[in-house]
């Protein structure tokens, strides 16, 4: 499988990365080189093989239903959370207009 410039532009848009027309053009051969190379996976017989998503069988844990059981992942830290925001106002993250 291979991508063309239109597909690259579409992927960039899905990935929320602004790219120029020239950049999209330059990415076509780069991405196709990589995709051609990974295409060799198609030759592997995977019939009856389950896809692996975790290397160690690990049951997801439930934590105790206690507020702020671990203060590191608890609440009440609004100012800390906002401290690194490029723009924060009145205790909220501020962003450009969403609704026209």
């Amino acid at each position: 499988m291979s991508v063309d410039k239109e597909t690259v532009t579409k992927i960039a848009s899905l990935a929320r990365i602004a790219i120029s027309d020239d950049e999209a053009g330059a990415l076509v051969p780069e991405l196709n080189n990589i995709l051609d190379w990974v295409d060799q996976l198609g030759e592997v017989d995977v019939s009856g093989v389950e896809p692996m998503s975790a290397v160690i069988p690990n049951k997801l844990r439930m934590r105790e239903d206690i507020i702020n059981a671990d203060p590191l992942t608890g609440g009440g830290v609004r100012d800390k959370i906002l401290a690194n925001a490029p723009d924060a106002e009145d205790g909220f993250f501020a962003v450009p207009k969403v609704i026209e």
Binding site: T7, I17, V38, V44, M52, N58, R61, V77, P86
Partner: protein, 495 residues
């Protein structure tokens, strides 16, 4: 004259501080001086000499008060800038996180500070740990302290992504450093710079507070001068953490106490598929030496097969970018890091402009690949197929460990190369990790230990891969090689 404390490794510093031969402050001052004098290597993004001194003073005060000292008391280390450190800038070497100062501490770094280690600074790396030569950092390339010499002073790659860590340890700017390994990022740079690096079993070290690249693969581990130092440091890094859903709820063995280079009764597997075309002759010879050394240590050498080896790297380059494209969606210019707002931009425009300005080319390439292989219509052909191949790779190892205790292989297909040699060709760069990636895909513990120099005088590493949770056998086989290789070479100081 007082001896040069920067010659010492973790064990020697810990023991010397405990015995009162020197103080933690003296050790830290010596390493602070080396860090300040080595800016030509560009190994550090942020230097934190005062923080290191404060932490050292606390250790000296504890000793004076007769308190019990931690396992790394008085040992100053470098922290890869992928670990969030409270109050100290953390960037993953990306512009998109410029100015980010975490309000919390990663579990691994917190564990190390609890053990008495001190932070010399934040180490440079490939941007978001994506790279094998440390040429994708927004803070510039890290230079290896090694040179070919004889008039050839071309700057060499320290490996990646933990290139700041490898360069700094090799040049003795710190006795040890943290690394992270997603597809070879501890082992490959360790091999390139003549140091030892360990990637533990997936889940040994908490990922909490580590900037995520590919979550099913990312593992933190130690990089240091020798196997013992790595065993000590890994013991201080590892441990169950309820804040990481994939953290292993198991006790941390005392790897240092159980170190033994006696390989009698152990079987070492030699995977025939790792004899690949294009592998450097020096590498093949070092592998043969490794076989002879482990035999000498009493091991039985057996031939094994890992039939899906050649598919590990292409499968990795689907799975890792897929996970990265998801993980890196959080960098949106809203919550932390930089923001780019073109005139009249709406929210979507701001996301796209911020990500375009903030991510480097290799990061964008991988996000794009990941987005593509996860997109509707291609998901099964690429992502599901790669996950199935990952199962087969894992099964290959399972079968192999029915027959042997550890696997011996080269760490890399070549020694270090000149900066710029491979950076124009992503595929050539990816192939560097061909021997390292299979163990990552299967979540297995593995280390790289220096074994000698190639004909250009550059270090080579040998890799030991062990069964799930069997770091001990990996460390022990590494120690057997270390004792026999007698690797004492070091780079001539030019920086």
């Amino acid at each position: 004259m007082m001896r040069d404390l920067t010659e010492l490794g973790i064990a020697a510093i810990r023991d010397g501080v405990a015995a009162g031969e020197f103080t933690a402050v003296e050790v830290t001052e010596a390493f602070n001086a080396n860090v300040a004098a080595a800016r030509a290597l560009n190994a550090f993004i942020v230097e934190t000499p005062e923080i290191a001194l404060d932490m050292a003073k606390a250790v000296d005060a504890d000793r004076a008060a007769g308190k019990e000292l931690g396992k790394m008391a008085g040992v100053p280390i470098g922290m890869k800038d992928l670990f969030c450190t409270e109050g100290t800038q953390t960037t993953a070497a990306s512009t998109i996180l410029s100015g980010f100062v975490p309000h919390y501490e990663s579990t691994v770094s917190a564990n190390l500070w609890k053990a008495g280690a001190a932070m010399l600074g934040k180490l440079n790396l490939d941007q978001f740990a994506m790279g094998s030569s440390n040429e994708t950092s927004a803070f510039g390339n890290v230079i290896s302290p090694w040179r070919i010499g004889g008039g050839n002073d071309a700057p060499l790659a320290p490996g990646g992504s933990s290139g700041g860590s490898s360069s700094a340890v090799s040049a003795r700017l710190c006795p040890a450093a943290t690394g992270t390994d997603t597809g070879g990022s501890i082992r490959q740079p360790a091999a390139f710079t003549g140091i030892t690096g360990v990637k533990p079993t997936y889940g040994r070290c908490s990922r909490w507070g580590v900037v995520a690249f590919a979550s099913s693969l990312d593992q933190a581990g130690p990089m240091a001068h020798d196997v013992r130092d790595c065993a000590i440091m890994l013991g201080s890094m590892a441990g169950f953490d309820p804040k990481d859903t994939t953290s292993l709820d198991l006790p941390v063995p005392d790897w240092e106490a159980a170190l033994s280079s006696d390989m009698r009764g152990k079987k070492v597997g030699i995977p025939r598929e790792y004899r690949m075309d294009g592998t450097d002759q020096d590498i093949l010879e070092s592998w043969d030496k490794g076989i002879a050394w482990l035999k000498d240590a009493g091991a039985q050498i057996i031939d094994i097969s890992l039939p899906h080896t050649q598919y590990a790297l292409p499968a990795y380059y689907i799975i890792a970018p897929a996970e990265a494209s998801s993980n890196l969606s959080r960098y949106d210019g809203v919550r932390y890091g930089m923001r780019e707002v073109p005139e009249g931009a709406n929210l979507q425009d701001m996301y796209a402009a911020t990500r375009s300005a903030g991510f480097g080319p290799e990061v964008k390439r991988r996000i794009m690949i990941g987005t593509y292989v996860l997109s509707a219509g291609f998901y099964d052909a690429y992502y599901t197929q790669a996950q199935k191949v990952r199962t087969l790779i894992s099964q290959d190892f399972e079968a192999a460990f029915q027959k042997c205790d550890v696997i011996l292989a080269p760490t890399t297909p070549t020694a270090s190369f000149s900066l710029g040699d491979k950076s124009k060709d992503p595929l050539a760069m990816y192939l560097n990790d061909v021997f390292a990636v299979p163990a990552s895909m299967a979540g297995l513990p593995a280390l790289s230990v220096p074994c000698g120099l190639n004909k250009d005088g550059l270090p080579l590493g040998l890799q030991i891969i062990g069964n799930m949770l069997d770091e001990q056998s990996v460390l022990n086989a590494g120690l057997a090689i270390e004792e026999r290789a007698g690797f004492t070479a070091r780079p001539d100081k030019w920086w």
